[in-house]
């Protein structure tokens, strides 16, 4: 009997010991002078570069907001975790941020997959989650209906894919297109599907479809194959890291047809990777064009360079806007709790950020203008504005 009791005791002690550390950290959320914001991003693992860039932008915005007095005198306190680019870890951390750190909202993750996993937690706990770069169409609305607590400030894949398909068919009078996509990325898959749909509806044909995986460096094989095809444009949904190399290698092989892309192209590294001379007849959909000379954009770029000693890319800008967008919601919010913040975010009208000004529509997506930027010798030469969504 004694023995059994001791086993019981030992097991009980072990468990209470394990959980005690969890219980302790609770309940310190309600510090009246600060507002906790969760940051759940990919700081390591496969897509660490997107997560790290977004967080750089977010931190810069939070510093600016706090330097300007915070929200009604309260400082924004970021609580930052690394989800290792894994959706399961994103779920675990969302739970931690909400139930232990007591954050009012969570920013991130950067990729649609991890963000979607996080949304299920957010819906259950009624805490808004906002992503700056989850572009898949079914992020904020899916078959099960609208996600009350999920927001984003970036384009949807269908919007960008459609805009580029229209541009290709109308402005470039393209009839035949080749698609080169990153088969390991949902962003590329979404864009490619939507481009195909609109482009074929406009009377065009897709004459070839090739794939690569993120972090590939050698694209000569697929490009040589494409070179033998008869086509008008190449659609290249994907990020600058591979796109820059693909454009460089395509031009080196003598492919001089227009190359089209999306906002993943927006990075100074595109020019560094491809080389300025290769970036001719390259068009991509984007939030803003540097031709705009919007003082807010110019200031952002200057400040960013001062702080981080490098040029910002789209992730930096979207991260920066993301934090500003939430701060704007907090300012308008009736009270500083998650429910009121959700309502305030949903009512956002004409928020002005560095990636353009937008309102939030009934599906929690931003209504943003889209610009098709054209590059000549690595410099933005044309900027065709497309109407609001």
């Amino acid at each position: 009997m004694k023995k059994k009791l001791s086993i019981l005791l030992a097991v009980g002690l072990l468990i209470s010991g394990l959980t005690a550390c969890g219980a302790n950290s609770k309940g310190q959320a309600a510090n009246s002078n600060e507002i906790k914001i969760g940051i759940n991003y990919e700081l390591s693992g496969g897509v660490a570069s997107y997560g790290q860039s977004s967080v750089d932008g977010i931190m810069m915005a939070i510093d600016e907001i706090n330097a300007a007095g915070g929200i009604d005198g309260k400082k924004l306190v970021p609580v930052k975790y690394d989800n290792k680019s894994e959706p399961a870890e994103a779920i675990t951390l969302a739970n931690k941020l909400i139930s232990q750190d007591g954050v009012v909202a969570i920013l991130g993750p950067a990729t649609s997959g991890s963000f979607k996993s996080e949304i299920s937690v957010a819906e259950k706990k009624k805490v808004p989650v906002i992503s700056g770069s989850a572009t898949a169409d079914d992020v904020t609305v899916d078959k099960a209906g609208k996600k009350e607590y999920a927001f984003r400030i970036c384009y949807t894949d269908s919007f960008q894919g459609t805009a580029m398909a229209n541009f290709a068919a109308q402005n470039l009078s393209a009839k035949k297109a080749v698609i080169v996509k990153d088969s390991s990325s949902d962003y590329a898959k979404g864009l490619a599907d939507n481009f195909t749909k609109t482009f074929t509806a406009a009377g065009g044909t897709i004459v070839g479809e090739e794939a690569y995986v993120a972090k590939d460096k050698d694209f000569n094989a697929i490009l040589t194959k494409i070179k033998g095809l008869d086509f008008d444009v190449i659609y290249l949904p994907g990020y600058y890291e591979e796109a820059g190399l693909i454009i460089k290698q395509a031009r080196a092989l003598g492919i001089d047809k227009p190359i089209l892309g999306a906002d993943g192209f927006d990075s100074p590294d595109l020019t560094n990777l491809a080389g300025a001379s290769a970036l001719t007849k390259v068009y991509f959909t984007n939030h803003y064009s540097s031709l705009d000379k919007d003082p807010a954009v110019v200031k952002f770029i200057d400040d960013f360079k001062k702080k981080y000693n490098k040029e910002p890319n789209a992730f930096h800008a979207l991260g920066y806007d993301l934090a500003k967008f939430v701060a704007d919601g907090l300012k308008r919010s009736k009270s500083l709790d998650s429910g009121a913040l959700k309502d305030a975010l949903a009512e956002t009208k004409d928020f002005t950020g560095v990636t353009g000004s937008f309102s939030i529509d009934e599906n929690h997506n931003p209504v943003k203008a889209i610009v098709v930027v054209g590059l000549e010798n690595g410099v933005q030469a044309t900027a065709e504005k497309s109407g609001n969504k």
Binding site: S6, I7, S44, D82, A88, S99, S117, D142, D186
Partner: protein
């Protein structure tokens, strides 16, 4: 003799029940919140993966680097079945179907490749896992890179506990059987085992298939608990993660695998607050642990209840003295 055995089994059974009830109680009261529950899920999944890999690598001595591949088969099959039939029956059917599918692939891959020795087998299994990943990446039914989402969540603490304990008990008992001893003899000396009349190929395939089966179960639980699947979750690094748990706990020690799985989860929770340097610390820990304890925490020893008893008695005596 038989009586003592019965007594021990009963003791084990009771302590398992108590563990279950204690945690279930803490969950009901709300002390174990959603965050700790998610951590518990990770621990359970890792225990199943580690114990099943330990059967292949630690006990049978076959070096496999493709465990994530089997896990992904279980996960995808279970997910697809539960999405089309979102009931408890569908979920149970999904997990079992997933495990069987993983076991079938395991047997299929194992039959030709288990002739290979040591690192060659590791590379072959690694290649197999990569092929599985690429196939999932390009299939229509798995929704490619965008991944499967909206998998109905059925797994709760009870299910996790049942599957974890079930896996550990089945594998532990298998190892005590004559089949299990045959597997261990292959690890000790394959040629000697063969000359003693052990059909080494047969037992290697059996242990490989069993390992794959339980990896499939772990995948099913993963799919059902985290309701989102993506092919790149099951890459090379996932297999390495499992292998790290097994080696850290000790090759050939089931309790070692369990302890290492819990320990790594605690370390990882602790490191979450150091988001920027967590991987660096993790890597350093790995190196330091291997440098100072290359045989793993437990070596090939097991912790049994008697150790708990000793600790329990000691602490009691200690209290009495004070």
């Amino acid at each position: 003799m038989k009586n003592i055995f019965k007594h021990k089994t009963l003791q084990k059974f009771i302590s398992i029940l108590i563990t279950y009830a204690a945690i279930q109680g803490l969950i009901t009261v709300g002390i174990i919140d959603d965050y700790w529950q998610a951590t518990l899920a990770t621990i359970c999944i890792n225990i199943i993966l580690a114990v099943s890999l330990n059967l292949i690598t630690g006990f049978t001595g076959q070096f496999s680097l493709g465990h994530a591949g089997f896990m992904s088969i279980g996960a995808y099959v279970c997910a697809i079945i539960t999405i089309s039939n979102p009931t408890t029956v569908g979920f149970i059917g999904g997990i079992i179907a997933g495990a069987i599918a993983a076991a079938l692939i395991g047997a299929l891959v194992g039959l030709p490749t288990l002739r290979l020795r040591g690192d060659y087998l590791a590379i072959a299994t690694l290649g197999m896992a990569e092929i599985i990943k690429i196939i999932f990446l390009n299939l229509e039914i798995t929704n490619g890179a965008a991944g499967l989402q909206g998998i109905p969540q059925f797994v709760n603490w009870t299910w996790m506990f049942v599957f974890t304990v079930g896996t550990v008990v089945i594998i532990a008992n298998f190892l005590k059987s004559s089949h299990g001893r045959a597997c261990i003899s292959i690890r000790e000396d394959e040629i000697a085992a063969e000359s003693m009349g052990v059909n080494t190929t047969k037992y290697k395939v059996i242990s490989f298939t069993m390992g794959a089966f339980f990896a499939g179960i772990a995948g099913g639980i993963y799919a059902s608990y985290f309701y989102f699947l993506k092919p790149d979750l099951f890459g090379f690094l996932k297999s390495v993660d499992v292998l790290v748990i097994v080696v850290l706990g000790g090759l050939g020690s089931i309790s070692g695998s369990i302890i290492a799985a819990v320990l790594l989860a605690i370390i990882s929770t602790f490191l979450q607050s150091f988001s920027e340097v967590r991987m660096i610390i993790y890597a350093l820990l790995l190196i330091v642990l291997m440098l100072f304890r290359p045989q793993g925490l437990m070596g090939s020893k097991e912790i049994s209840l008697s150790v708990f008893k000793k600790i329990g008695l000691k602490s009691k005596r200690g209290k009495e003295e004070v």
